[in-house]
């Protein structure tokens, strides 16, 4: 039975309450880097939330999700390069481009299964990588510097780091809430049922392909938003954002945090990026620890952090 003090709920509440206070703490501790780090965490958490939708809830093992970070980012970057700085133009373009890409890739990839699906999503992401790396005008391999962040109406100023942080946080909260409602809706039940047993879903009469495709597009679009944020955050975008190993990083965040749980991706992004910072100050070879750690998690703690919190709390899964 649920104990009086539920560890998982406590962790969630703590997280939800602490995140808005980061800029305050950063100012008090006179540590601006903290704000930069957490802005990045929040943006990657949003990307991870979008991946969790198709991977955790939908069971679609896409290895090309980082492509949308690149597409969203390059939409902002390319338009900025051409002198179009208005966020009201850039961001809808970023979303539309991501949605279109997801639609085309999804339509083709979702006809395959299992390992083939993994490979074909990976391949399409690599194709996107090569496409942007091949356009000299936008920096090619070296990437594209963004000299001016997306402009919105005053008083919203994205170059103000604190304002930008709160914008990203608001979008993370909003995006997570949206995904949460989505997965519990009728649409979400179809997606979850398809993950659980696609053959049965078809047998009871659901045309599963179209639901998976719509889910895929929604996830890609949301990640494109994260990409637009990331480009603004770094004032830079390069093809490296889309390299297939970056998709791997996103998957790690989702699994580490706990799949098919609304806030799992938050834990995953937080822990992974904080770990990265903490471990790299101990040794520059920190990935030597992360690598086997990942393997151990896969073998022994498959439910991720969220799963572990549930176990500690004693709550039935």
């Amino acid at each position: 039975m649920t104990p009086a003090f539920n560890v998982r709920v406590a962790a969630v509440v703590l997280l939800l309450a602490a995140l808005p206070l980061v800029p305050v703490y950063a100012r008090l501790a006179n540590d601006p880097f903290l704000l930069t780090l957490f802005t990045r965490i929040v943006i990657m958490a949003l990307a991870a939330v979008s991946l969790n939708l198709i991977l955790g809830y939908g069971g679609m093992m896409s290895f090309g999700h980082a492509a949308y970070l690149g597409i969203g980012g390059y939409a902002v970057g390319m338009l900025a390069h051409e002198g179009i700085y208005s966020g009201l133009v850039q961001w809808p373009v970023a979303l539309a481009a991501s949605a279109l890409f997801a639609l085309v890739i999804g339509a083709l990839s979702l006809r395959t299964r299992g390992v083939y699906f993994i490979m074909i999503t990976l391949a399409f992401a690599q194709m996107a990588y090569y496409v942007v790396a091949g356009i000299a005008r936008y920096g090619g391999d070296d990437g594209l510097t963004i000299y001016k962040r997306s402009q919105f109406f005053a008083p919203l100023d994205l170059s103000n780091k604190i304002q930008f942080y709160y914008l990203c946080l608001a979008l993370l909260y909003g995006g997570t809430y949206f995904v949460w409602r989505l997965v519990n809706s009728r649409f979400g039940m179809v997606v979850q049922g398809t993950r659980s047993n696609e053959v049965r879903m078809r047998a009871i009469g659901f045309p599963t392909y179209r639901y998976k495709l719509v889910c895929f597009v929604i996830a890609g679009t949301l990640c494109g938003l994260a990409g637009a944020l990331l480009a603004n955050h770094n004032d830079f975008i390069s093809p490296a954002t889309m390299y297939w190993t970056r998709s791997g990083d996103l998957i790690v965040m989702v699994v580490l945090g706990g799949m098919a749980s609304p806030l799992g991706p938050w834990f995953g992004a937080l822990v992974l990026l904080v770990l990265e910072e903490a471990l790299s100050s101990i040794t520059e070879y920190w990935q030597i620890i992360l690598g086997p750690l990942l393997l151990l998690i896969v073998l022994f703690a498959r439910g991720g952090i969220d799963g572990m919190l549930r176990t500690i709390g004693g709550r039935r899964a």
Binding site: L108, R111, G140, T245
Partner: protein
């Protein structure tokens, strides 16, 4: 004309090299149903070991042989320590677990050899040009690669088609459970097969080393190609891997050789030189997409999912 012959041979050589890599991957895939992202790391290790041992012993061939042995040992060690626990699990588990191994190996190499990368110079007797057709010369080393990989391909054919072990491999590729039921020492078989795959990857890595630089991350780049080949050829099929590898090798090499000129006719030189390598890389993925649209199981799938 000379250029065409040379590029075709390069395509053949690259394709055969890719075949070595893809064969190991598809074997492990087809028989143990294991998605091994760390296959590229073994390729990298082969190159690093070869560069190191060749420098120590002063002999290219000796260095290569030692490297082969070392990679085989590392492969078998990895199988016993890590891979064994992944058999039978979800593919996502494989992907994540072996992704973790990639991180580990990349950092381990960086720790042991530094971030700079190594080079493996060719001994003089390999660094010559051979006249293969009247007036047409080709690098003797690349010819050597072709010869060696063809020999390995023949060896694999004999192994898979004519020996008892090969029979088990073929049986395992189409029906895993049955092989276990036949009372064969599955654990040992799997360790050996994984070791074989690792050795093939290491061989590919060490042979490629003098041509490209030996550096961290070389595995990740070529791994994708190997996977694409496996998918195009059909999981579990060595024959499929060979044909797909040759296809990919030719397309990639000829694309890189002739695309820049083709593009320069349409674009500015600067744009063309950036776009050309990108486009030729894209061709491979386009090929895979096309194959998967018409034959989602690959060209020669063994049907073992």
């Amino acid at each position: 004309m000379t250029l065409l012959v040379e590029q075709c041979l390069n395509g053949l050589q690259f394709g055969l090299l890719l075949f070595l890599l893809a064969a190991g991957l598809t074997l492990v895939f087809g028989i143990m149903d294991l998605v091994n992202l760390a296959h590229g790391s073994l390729y990298m290790l082969g190159a690093y070991f070869a560069a190191t041992f060749a420098a120590w012993t002063g002999s290219f061939v000796l260095g290569a042989l030692l490297a082969l042995g070392a990679t085989l040992l590392v492969g078998m060690a990895v199988e016993v320590v890590a891979m064994r626990r992944l058999y039978g699990r979800d593919h996502l588990d494989h992907v994540l677990g072996t992704f973790g191994l990639i991180l580990f190996f990349d950092e381990a190499v960086r720790l042991l050899w530094g971030p700079e990368g190594l080079s493996l110079p060719l001994p003089p007797w390999l660094n010559t040009a051979v006249e293969i057709l009247p007036g047409i010369y080709y690098s003797s080393y690349r010819l050597a690669i072709i010869v060696v990989t063809l020999a390995v391909a023949v060896f694999l054919y004999v192994l898979v088609m004519r020996t008892r072990v090969g029979m088990l491999i073929r049986a395992g590729a189409s029906n895993r459970e049955m092989v276990g039921a036949l009372g064969v020492n599955i654990k040992l078989l799997y360790t050996l097969i994984f070791g074989l795959g690792a050795a093939l990857a290491g061989l590919a890595g060490l042979m490629q080393a003098p041509i490209l630089t030996v550096q961290i991350g070389m595995g990740e780049n070529i791994l994708i190609l190997a996977f694409v080949i496996t998918v195009i050829g059909g999981i579990g099929s060595i024959r499929g891997a060979l044909i797909a590898a040759l296809l990919v090798g030719f397309i990639d090499t000829l694309g890189r050789a002739f695309f820049p000129d083709l593009l320069r006719m349409a674009l500015s030189t600067a744009a063309a030189s950036t776009a050309a390598p990108a486009l030729s890389s894209m061709l491979i993925y386009l090929l895979m997409a096309v194959v998967l649209v018409f034959k989602p199981e690959g060209l020669f799938s063994t049907g073992n999912k």
